[in-house]
């Protein structure tokens, strides 16, 4: 039976395992569960069981077991509980029908659902499984309340299957189950029907939502599974029935740690594959995303054709709308909301500042967070953070460093010890975030300053481009310790961030020369070193930074002036990038259109409605590694070719320790 079925359902290996176990261990699981909700178990399972088991079994074995109804039947068949009744049978038929209807949806789930399917149907034998699923922490991972009940019910069910193995002794859960029992019988089928009908006429958005939920559930289930692995000693280890679980159960407490690590490493590897960015020339996806979005963006009229894959929105019109929303929107924590608005308005500039602001907001949000009843902190919090992140992305595309920080945070959440109480977990997360800020950003900056200062000698002329807080710290520190040097500040439109640096340096008494980027080849002749900040450095050594950096580096290279890039290691990214077109961020085109020309007024007005004229405000560009002489980072001074090494080592340290 097993060997035959195994190859048939290729992705459903686990289910196969289950089937094998059915025969020997039909009894054991059931009593256990029925303890909590005996009535349900009987009502639901009995109808199936009453039907002659052989009758059902034989078809199950032969046909490809895609159908739930089959599974259900087969699984139900061995159940010995007596008490057949016509009504119940009908119910069962009903159920099988509905369960079957899930199938297509489930198939969307991808890899994990099949395995859970088997379990699900098995569990669905006892209605109370559903009930419990509501209580399962997993459902936390569902979208911030924005989805249908059906979805919420359904997805947890799958995950629940796994959880089911774990003890359900939780008193709270039992209570819920008990109270829900009577209701569940009636509600269940209805819900299922709902899903079915919904399935048929769900709009794109809804389907999208469902998918999302499923994905979340899947991830959650996985996470849960691995988490549970260690502690799931309670569920009858003797039971061979739960063959889907053996991987999780088998590692007993002794080996669980290493096992867990192995699993997580594997997971990391999968997660490490950088997500492909949203391509904005993909109409359908953009539409879907738009329907979910909080921020209403109007697309700019004159899009630059070369950059259709990037979001091109009009600026400035969504801000009042959003700020009025701040009190009505409860899915997003107010601190995060505030940071989002600040990003949108451009009040926070600079990668470090943005990243720190975001992390502080998350800290606050976590502090105010309470796990909803019947939800799991890990899952729910991850989902919440995901919601925040997508909101922030809507406000302004995240920088690479923010992406890294978010990944760090999610890892921390995932790695929370399960036995931690909620306040403890929150405290540990907050302190981890604080540690990240201190260690990876603030302390790293100090280390970088210490390193870089050794490269500044008396009488040098240093060139700084735009505004970078690390470069500013270096220059100020070098001045403090008495080095005599001159600074050339090169600036560029439209942000003119160099003026900020200029002001700070001049007020501290540094000797400064200010010029614009066009004149960089005029001034480069007298420069002896170039100091650049970075937004990110990719693993092929490409420097991704404020637009114009590449120009400065190129001219410096032409004049044989060393280029020193200062970048904290948390900004390194394992992606690779060749040009500035594929991945970039577009700023407000109006910032370019508005120039301080005397006769400009009528000029810009007449241009506004002209299709032929576009303004392109690139935010970043990528500097090839060949222009970079040295990168100063918190791990020391390295050539750009060493970036992938640091990325690897850094990642390992970050994820596993």
């Amino acid at each position: 039976m097993d060997p035959r079925r195994g190859p048939l359902a290729v992705p459903k290996v686990r289910r196969v395992g289950f089937f094998t176990s059915i025969e020997p261990s039909p009894e054991t699981p059931r009593p256990n569960r029925s303890l909590s909700g005996p009535a349900e178990a009987i009502t639901s399972s009995s109808p199936l069981s009453d039907s002659p088991s052989g009758q059902f079994i034989s078809p199950v074995q032969i046909p490809p077991s895609r159908h739930h109804s089959d599974n259900l039947a087969s699984r139900a068949a061995p159940v010995p509980v007596p008490g057949p009744s016509a009504f119940r049978r009908q119910l069962a038929n009903d159920r099988t029908l509905h369960v079957g209807s899930y199938n297509p949806v489930d198939s969307l789930l991808g890899t994990s659902p099949p395995s859970s399917n088997g379990e699900v149907s098995e569990d669905s034998g006892s209605l109370f499984g559903f009930q419990r699923s509501d209580s399962a922490k997993l459902s936390a991972s569902f979208p911030n309340g924005g989805f249908n009940m059906t979805v919420a019910v359904r997805a947890p069910r799958e995950s629940e299957a796994k959880v089911a193995i774990a003890s359900t002794s939780d008193g709270r859960k039992k209570n819920v189950e008990a109270s829900g029992e009577s209701e569940s019988v009636s509600t269940k089928p209805r819900k299922e029907k709902e899903t079915k009908s919904l399935k048929e006429k769900t709009s794109k958005a809804e389907r999208r939502a469902i998918q999302e939920a499923q994905r979340a559930a899947k991830a959650a289930a996985k996470g849960e599974g691995s988490k549970r692995a260690g502690e799931s000693s309670r569920p009858k280890p003797s039971k061979p029935a739960k063959q889907p679980q053996p991987k999780k159960e088998a590692p007993q407490v002794t080996s669980s740690v290493s096992e867990k690590r192995a699993v997580s490493v594997e997971k990391e590897r999968r997660m490490d594959v950088p997500q492909t960015q949203m391509q904005y020339d993909d109409k359908s996806r953009v539409d879907k995303a738009k329907r979910r979005s909080v921020v209403e963006q109007t697309e700019s009229k004159n899009k630059v054709e070369l950059f259709l894959h990037l979001p091109q929105y009009e600026r400035g019109n969504q801000l009042p709308n959003l700020s009025s929303n701040i009190f009505t929107l409860d899915t997003i924590h107010h601190a995060v909301y505030k940071v989002g608005l600040q990003h949108l308005a451009g009040d926070i500039a600079g990668d470090n500042a943005r990243c720190i602001a975001m992390l502080h907001a998350f800290q606050e949000a976590i502090n105010d967070y309470t796990t909803p009843p019947m939800k799991d902190l890990t899952m729910d919090l991850t989902a919440k953070i995901n919601g925040y992140v997508s909101f922030l992305i809507e406000c302004r595309p995240l920088s690479m460093s923010m992406g890294n920080a978010i990944r760090f945070l999610k890892n921390q959440i995932r790695k929370l010890p399960v036995d931690l109480s909620e306040p403890e977990a929150k405290a540990s997360l907050c302190s981890e975030i604080g540690r990240f800020i201190d260690e990876k950003i603030l302390l790293a900056d100090k280390v970088i300053v210490q390193h870089a200062v050794t490269k500044i000698r008396d009488g040098e002329v240093l060139l700084a481009y735009g505004f970078s807080c690390v470069v500013e710290m270096i220059l100020l520190y070098a001045h403090e310790i008495g080095r005599k040097f001159r600074v050339v500040i090169v600036d560029s439109r439209p942000n003119l961030e160099g003026q900020k640096l200029l002001r700070r340096l001049v007020t501290r008494g540094l000797d400064c020369t200010y010029t614009h980027i066009n004149a960089v080849s005029y001034i480069m002749g007298e420069v002896t070193r170039v100091f650049l900040g970075a937004s990110s450095i990719f693993s092929n050594g490409t420097l991704y930074s404020q637009v114009g950096t590449a120009c400065v580096a190129m001219v410096a290279n032409a004049f044989s002036v060393p280029v020193i890039v200062c970048c904290e290691a948390y900004k390194f990214h394992e992606r690779v990038l060749l040009d500035s077109i594929c991945s970039n961020e577009l700023g407000d085109p109006d910032a370019i259109a508005n120039v301080p020309l005397r006769n400009n007024k009528k000029h810009s007005k007449t241009m506004d409605n002209n299709k032929n004229l576009q303004f392109l405000n690139l935010m970043y560009d990528s500097t090839p590694a060949e222009y970079i002489s040295m990168i100063v980072t918190d791990y020391g001074m390295i050539p750009p070719t060493s970036i992938p090494v640091i990325v690897r080592e850094y990642r390992r340290e970050d994820l596993l320790l």
């Binding site: 439109r493 003026q499 200010y514 066009n518 005029y522 001034i523 114009g548 500035s580 560009d621």
Partner: protein
Amino acid sequence: MPDVQSMVLEFVNKLRKRKIEGSQATARCTVELLRSVISHHRVPHANQASALIDAVKAVGAQLVAANPVELAVGNVVRRVLHIIREEDLSLATAAVAGLDLLEASDDDEDVNGKGIGYPGMSAAVVAAAARSTLRPPSLQTLLEGTPESATVPYTSSSGADSESKTADKSSVTRKLKHDVIEGVNQLIHEIAGCHEQIAEQAIEHIHQNEVILTLGSSRTVLEFLCAAKEKKRSFRVFVAEGAPRYQGHLLAKELVARGLQTTVITDSAVFAMISRVNMVIIGAHAVMANGGVIGPVGVNMAALAAKKHAVPFVVLAGSHKLCPLYPHNPEVLLNELRSPSELLDFGEFSDCLDFGSGSGSPLLQVVNPTFDYVPPSLVSLFITDTGGHNPSYMYRLIADYYSADDLVM
């Protein structure tokens, strides 16, 4: 005479105050001024040519001193001097030929007349025609060395002619002046028409769906692109805005008005965009004899980026922009620093800026250069009104337009 003097002074003032912008406008004003100088100059009977040359040189020196960075002034003055020398020489040769055959001079005149008739090939044809007559004596003068010796043979020859032309000396005087003014008119015509000459070649260089990057505001570039557009080529133009003067915005406005698809980018995005650009086309401020280009600030950056990405870097230059000098440290010496107010608000930084008071406070310097120098190695092609040329050929092209004697003014 006094009115010419006042005109000169007025023009010098304008130059000094940088009221005239753009090398073409400057060249035109200069050549018109020189024409009136020549026409008002009373020519002595002997040594008419040298007298004219002296007069023009005197005025030219004033003009060049008024704005040494505007190389077009010096170029035009040299061109006018060259015309005077050529006319003088052609008259002399005609006279010499006239000894043998009187009609020969008429023929010679006809040749010049034809040259005037075809402004399209004017300068080159005239120069080529003149070269055939000029070459032997000029080579001789080169060998003999001093510039003085160069003029001596001419004057002596014209003096030698005088005996045969005693009868109609006054007509000869008038003839030289007349010829020179004709030549100058032709030069004016040429300067005015250089756009069309260059634009005619656009179709050979721009293909369908091309992406072109340009910077600065140059009428030559505008005409060039529009000529290609008129020939039904559709292409896209990226314009760097050219902070802090925002000439790019002006150019973009003109281009859009003519129906070209235009995208304005910041100057800092030049490197980012260059990888998607097929050709960089810029208008030069001046072209030096070594093939180096002086252009609007930021040009060197674009040229370096183009070189890095192997994008052709094309320079458009009318013949009045060809300068016979070899540059030394052109980034600094042939540059001009404009007002810091274009970059910084005086109000904001007034406490930091050094207004020449010499106080010991920390200095904030603001550097705002006008021009940029592109070395010849970064230039792929020059397109002048006589066709396309390599940077390495520019010295030879330039030699056609100027006399070696005038290089130092």
